[in-house]
Amino acid sequence: MGILEVKNVGKRFGGLQALGNVNLSVAENTVHAIIGPNGAGKSTLLNVLVGKLIPDTGSVMFDGQSVLGRKPHEINQMGISRVFQTPEIFGDLSVLENVMIPCFARRDGSFRMHAFETVSQERDIIDEAEHILNDVNMLDKRDMHAASLSRGDKRRLEMAMCLVQKPRLLLLDEPTAGMARADTNNTIDLLKHIRDTRDITMAIIEHDMHVVFSLAERITVLAQGTPLVEDTPENIKGHPKVKEAYLGEQAQE
């Protein structure tokens, strides 16, 4: 029984069956990659997991509780954090404030009217935020405007914002999309560091095979809305069905 159990999930947009009949089990403390060609339904699946889309059929259980029908902030409070394809951060706020907000969210829940406390006196929260910034090597940028960071730093900041919540499941949506090689390698190193130092389950949706094969312990291949195979990276590499899905008819010629 995995920490995340997706059973018979289907989703249709008009005439398009985006997800056919998806079954997926993500085991605790593993890095699970979901790959597949364009239009395979990866993003739809991710949006179902975070509560942005409600599937037509099936169930999604996280740690024994259903995720379906809950709002994104409720799902996050259950212990699922998400990293976006383009880093979603609070651009108008400082780097430190960006990391403090998830700390407050974890301590105070989804809403608290703390209008008469003072941010600068929340010593515990500031310490925690500085600690995680140190972990991702960004402590020297703590007072910078988040919008002025480089793309790679924004990614690291977003990662720090997710990690500081100590999530049980971290969902990553193409974390290296559009990155230069050097930034991609930095991100891989950071993710490896996270994988090796924390008790955390990660589900990665990724295009870049280099990223997938350097991180994942399990891989699910999705094609046309249904999972084709699920196996270890070694077995996936040479799998004929995967080649077919990726290369289509060319492979058969």
């Binding site: 994104p72 706020l93 907000i101 209008a115 003072t118 941010v119």
Partner: protein, 401 residues
């Protein structure tokens, strides 16, 4: 002091001093001099500056922090005024019950309107608030006539019950016997300074209102409101529900507006539907942006500047203009008067429009940014003074997506 750090305490003290010395600051020219008509230190104007300052401070908590642009805050101003006048009719000419009810009623009203309007964001939110303001205006103007006295407006009558007031109670608005319209005039070196009770009551409340807004800006709650403006998507996926935060900000700013409305009625005990018209709500938007949205002092400066200029420009008529240019040849004089005429007197809104366009184009951070630029010219390298994001004018004031 008062839960503030050193810098903020100094900031608050400066604001208190500025408020306390308003009668001097707004009366810079000696009586009888040619410049005397630019003096603004009379009670009615000073009261309005303080009251609209409160209105704008509250509006800034919503617009400056969360980016939600409401055009409907005049409705809360109106609700505050009607509530206050009713208290004066029923209970007492003491302004306290009126102000309290004004804040409660406007808070409840804001809860209702905010709960509905905040289902949408951006331009749709603005349009919803605009629609509500117009509905409130029409309700006050005709439908709810028994409550609002329609076109005439709600007024105090000698035969009102006023059950808390005794036989000899003052027939004027007062604070435990202190008459709001009482003034002490001090003449010195040809200057005349007016110290008005009503103004100082408004000023004390304005300073408290400013202090509360300062605390909100520095609080985790204020940080969450800035997060709403910055990225609502990230906020949701960080486990925070943006809705109650925006609703709380909406209700707080609505109560500030109600307080301002209650004070308007306390200074001059009447309430009319025109106070609820959306143009009044538009005025507070202009004040906030002109002064600097998202900054602490900006809204107060904007309110002061607009109310002062409104009074000065409205007073200038053709006779005054002819007086100014009388030294010029006749044709020249008439020509200049003709050019300036549309911008003064009743046409003062034309000047305001031009001023607003200039500020938004060249000083997107408002008067506060202007002040900073001037300071920057005098101060070389203001390094080390830990830059404070709240004091920074936000780039262009924009609406939450």
């Amino acid at each position: 002091m008062l839960g503030l750090n050193k810098r903020d305490t100094r900031f608050l003290i400066i604001v208190i001093l500025l408020t306390a010395f308003t009668p001097f600051l707004m009366q810079p020219f000696p009586e009888g001099s040619a410049m005397a008509q630019f003096n603004g230190g009379y009670p009615d104007l000073m009261q309005r500056v303080a009251i609209f300052g409160i209105f704008a401070i509250g509006f800034n908590i919503l617009f400056g922090l969360t980016g939600y642009l409401s055009f409907g805050h005049a409705a809360f101003l109106g609700v505050g005024s009607y509530s206050a006048v009713w208290m004066m009719k029923l209970l007492s000419m003491n302004i306290i019950p009126g102000i309290i009810l004004a804040m409660i009623m406007s808070g409840l009203f804001a809860l209702l309107i905010g709960w509905i309007s905040l289902r949408r964001s951006g331009i749709y939110f603005s349009i919803l608030t605009l629609a509500f303001a117009q509905m409130s205006y029409n309700l006050a103007y005709s439908v709810l006539t028994p409550l609002t006295n329609g076109e005439t407006g709600l007024q105090i009558r000698p035969n009102d019950p006023r059950i808390l007031d005794g036989e000899n109670a003052s027939p004027y608005t007062n604070l435990f016997g202190l008459d709001m319209s009482a003034s002490y005039k001090w003449e010195v070196f040809g200057h005349q300074f007016t110290f008005n009770t009503g103004f100082y009551v408004c000023a004390v409340i304005a300073v408290i209102a400013f202090y509360i807004s300062l605390r909100i800006f520095r609080s985790p709650f204020g940080m969450m409101l800035r997060a709403v403006k910055s990225n609502q998507q990230r906020m949701s996926y960080t486990g925070l529900n943006p809705r109650p935060y925006t609703l709380a900000a909406f209700v707080i700013s609505g109560m500030y507006a109600g307080l301002a409305g209650g004070l308007l009625a306390s200074m001059d005990p009447l309430a009319g539907a025109e106070r609820m018209q959306w143009t009044v709500g538009g005025e507070v938007v202009i004040m906030t942006i002109l002064g600097g949205a998202g900054t602490l002092l900006g809204p107060v400066l904007g309110a002061g500047a607009i109310k002062y200029l409104e009074n000065i420009f409205s007073k200038i008529n053709d006779t005054v203009l002819h007086g100014w240019f009388s030294a010029l040849p006749d044709g020249m004089e008439d020509f200049l008067v003709m050019i300036i005429h549309p911008f003064v007197g009743k046409g003062w809104h034309l000047t305001l429009g031009l001023l607003f366009m200039l500020v938004v184009t060249f000083l997107p951070g408002g008067l506060v940014e202007g002040g900073k630029r001037i300071m920057g010219l005098f101060k070389r390298k203001p390094k080390g003074e830990g830059d404070d994001p709240e004091h920074h004018p936000q780039s262009t004031p924009h609406v939450a997506e």
